[in-house]
């Protein structure tokens, strides 16, 4: 099956029962598959009037207690940004898949890119932490979509699946395990007296249990800066406390959230850092370089945000050069430079989008570096 369909199947396996969509190339197939599958598992699909509405509906459905998602590409991702911020501020779990195409603007609708990576990090206004995953194959997207829901439910944060047109439209064998073999996580629910419940009072893990609309807790939820009761408080002190809570629950759990994969890194002289479809080109390049006697290795970022700062810093102490491979003109590359702190040269292999990066160009770049 294609990556898009595998994403939809992963969502269903994770317990997603609400999808609000809006057609956009190259993500449409996710909505199409969900529209066909959801009603048969007791879920609901709706096609909204635009991506702003789709994102709003996803938040409304999640606040009603149902695992919810949407899928889009660049232009729609831009339209969703304000409500992604509402999801962050109100700590509403949800999943957004961005099947990236080349931008800016309408760009190349049918051709892939990885140009929305910084938008994923900072696209909504204000300071926050977000979780973004970057699957590299249809099988990977199936598992990462399940993981996206689990992280979203656990930390009460919107989780972004930053895939791309190539992975979304790539058709490969996907094994879907028995439901009993799939671990799913659901948000913690409140216990105790309903009239004393404070909807934004965090537990020991930094995350507050979440009451759904209709549970009888009579909570108030707002995108305004709010205290632990959920009530607006317009002071710098309350704002600092709220933002610290929103960022802290992610920053304190980096070990659980950040997932990377190392390939032939143990004795590497040069380390490639890549993600998504570009990590596949990079893996081929590592093998080719090794055949030519160059000790190359790959760090694949499965979680892109929060950034694998420690893993990259550690690499920068062990290798002679770092090389970031991504289909843009340097986004994650900037993060790699930040974490390397000038210890080793950092190079970028990238272009503006519309095609995958050929392994040969990566091998050539590695040779130029060493």
């Amino acid at each position: 099956m294609t990556g898009d369909v595998a994403c939809a199947e992963g969502a269903l396996a994770a317990g997603c029962r609400f999808f609000a969509g809006y057609p956009i190339t190259p993500a449409t197939e996710i909505a199409e598959h969900m529209s066909d599958r959801l009603p048969d598992v007791g879920g609901t699909y709706i096609q909204m009037e635009d991506e702003i509405a789709a994102m709003a509906a996803v938040l409304g459905a999640s606040c009603a207690g149902v695992k919810s998602m949407t899928a889009t590409s660049g232009p729609g991702f831009s339209l969703m940004m304000e409500n992604i911020g509402l999801g962050i501020c109100t700590e509403t779990p949800c999943v957004i898949a961005n099947v990236q195409r080349a931008g800016p603007s309408t760009g190349l609708p049918t051709l892939g890119a990885q140009g929305d990576m910084m938008q994923a990090r900072w696209g909504s206004h204000g300071h926050y932490e977000i979780i973004a995953l970057a699957p590299a194959s249809p099988q990977d997207i199936f598992y990462q979509t399940i993981r996206a829901f689990n992280l979203s439910e656990k930390y009460r944060v919107p989780v972004l699946i930053m895939t791309d047109e190539v992975v979304g439209h790539l058709s490969e064998r996907v094994v879907i395990p028995e439901a009993s073999a799939i671990r799913t996580i659901s948000r913690r629910r409140p216990k105790g007296r309903k009239d004393r419940f404070q909807p934004f009072c965090p537990g020991p893990d930094g995350v507050a249990p979440m009451a759904s609309a209709g549970d009888g807790y009579r909570i108030h939820v707002t995108g305004l800066t709010h205290d632990q009761r959920g009530y607006p408080v317009m002071t710098p002190e309350c704002h600092a406390e709220m933002v610290a809570r929103l960022t802290g629950k992610i920053r304190r759990n980096l070990g659980d959230i950040i997932e990377t994969e190392s390939y032939r890194l143990d004795d590497a002289d040069v380390a490639i850092i890549s993600y998504g479809v570009s990590s596949r080109s990079s893996m081929a390049a590592v093998d080719e370089a090794r055949q030519q006697g160059i000790k190359a290795g790959l760090l694949r970022l499965i979680t892109v945000w929060p950034f694998a700062e420690e893993a990259v810093a550690d690499l920068s102490r062990r290798v002679r050069a770092l090389c970031t491979v991504e289909i843009n003109l340097g986004q994650i590359h900037l993060e790699v430079e930040r974490c390397a702190k000038g210890r080793v040269p950092c190079h970028l292999v990238g272009h503006a989008g519309g095609s995958v990066i050929a392994p040969e160009s990566i091998v050539q770049a590695i040779k130029d570096v060493l």
Binding site: A57, G60, A213
Partner: protein
């Protein structure tokens, strides 16, 4: 149901987050009257209040959700209706009320309200229409009368306003009414009917904004109420096309539309779900 607090000082106190008073609304503002009509209707509606949700957008009227002791959601500007749509679809047992203003629902949120009406999604939408953007200090809105002065139309509004009842009716709303805050009993009764109505119910509530609109148009708060008394005509069943807001020629109030049509959820269940797949 939760137990009522000991000796409430007002019959509606159980429905108000009294700890949040004082509210932000200005003296002479009409939102409070529309809000209390909504709470009175809720109080006597017999709805399970633990299953009743208020959703608001942004603006003065959008603050209503924050004062209501229900599950209440204060969302982004213009997006109360799609948020409420998702909530209702995900949990159909909920009664979902959208309480917001004309700018929120019909300018920035205009695309959403016509589609919600088209779908006949089972929501009650209360639109407080104060003819301007009050929260930001009185700018021109999609409802501001032609030639009216606002901070962004200092020489008069060159544009034509929407006829809200006609717009939602044309889009597919199955309950459409308009009242003013002077017509409190009619308004309260209408809100109760809207709660009972299956499908997309819309009520426009005309309300004065003396701070933002009135003082720039030589309308003191009582002048506006006098207009509501002298220049209105109750005409239930009137064609929404007659409902254009024209304070010179007179304003039509009343329940304009009450029709039955399958709701969005009924149609989805009927069309998309296999008979044996109603898993929940």
């Amino acid at each position: 149901m939760r137990k009522a607090k000991a000796s409430p000082s007002h019959p509606l106190d159980a429905l108000v987050r009294t700890e949040r008073v004082p509210h932000i609304w200005c003296p002479g503002c009409g939102i409070g009257t529309a809000f209390s009509a909504c709470l009175t209707a809720l109080h006597s509606s017999g709805l399970d209040l633990d299953k009743t949700v208020m959703v608001s957008g942004i603006g003065c009227s959008g603050r209503a959700a924050g004062y209501t002791r229900l599950d209440s959601y204060h969302t982004t500007h213009g997006r109360a209706v799609p948020f409420a749509t998702g909530m209702k679809l995900a949990k159909p047992e909920l009664h979902v009320i959208v309480f917001s203003g004309d700018g929120d629902l019909f300018a920035i949120g205009g695309n959403h309200i016509i589609h919600a009406a088209r779908r006949n999604i089972d929501l009650t939408v209360l639109c407080v229409n104060n003819l301007n953007y009050g929260m930001t200090g009185g700018q021109v809105a999609a409802t501001t009368p032609t030639l009216a002065k606002t901070t962004t139309t200092p020489r008069g509004n060159p544009e034509r306003p929407f006829n809200l009842p006609l717009l939602v009716y044309a889009a597919g709303a199955t309950y459409v009414a308009r009242w003013t805050i002077l017509h409190t009993r009619d308004l309260t009764q209408s809100i109760q009917e809207a709660f009972q109505h299956k499908g997309f119910a819309f009520i426009e509530v005309l309300a004065p904004c003396p701070t933002g609109y009135g003082r720039r148009n030589k309308e003191r708060p009582l002048d506006t109420l006098k207009l509501y008394q002298d220049r209105t005509l109750i005409k239930n069943g009137a064609n929404p096309a007659e409902a254009f807001l024209d304070f010179e020629r007179g304003i039509v109030l009343g329940k304009f539309v009450e029709e039955q049509r399958p709701t969005c959820i009924e149609m989805y269940d009927r069309t998309c779900r296999l008979p044996d797949s109603a898993a929940g």
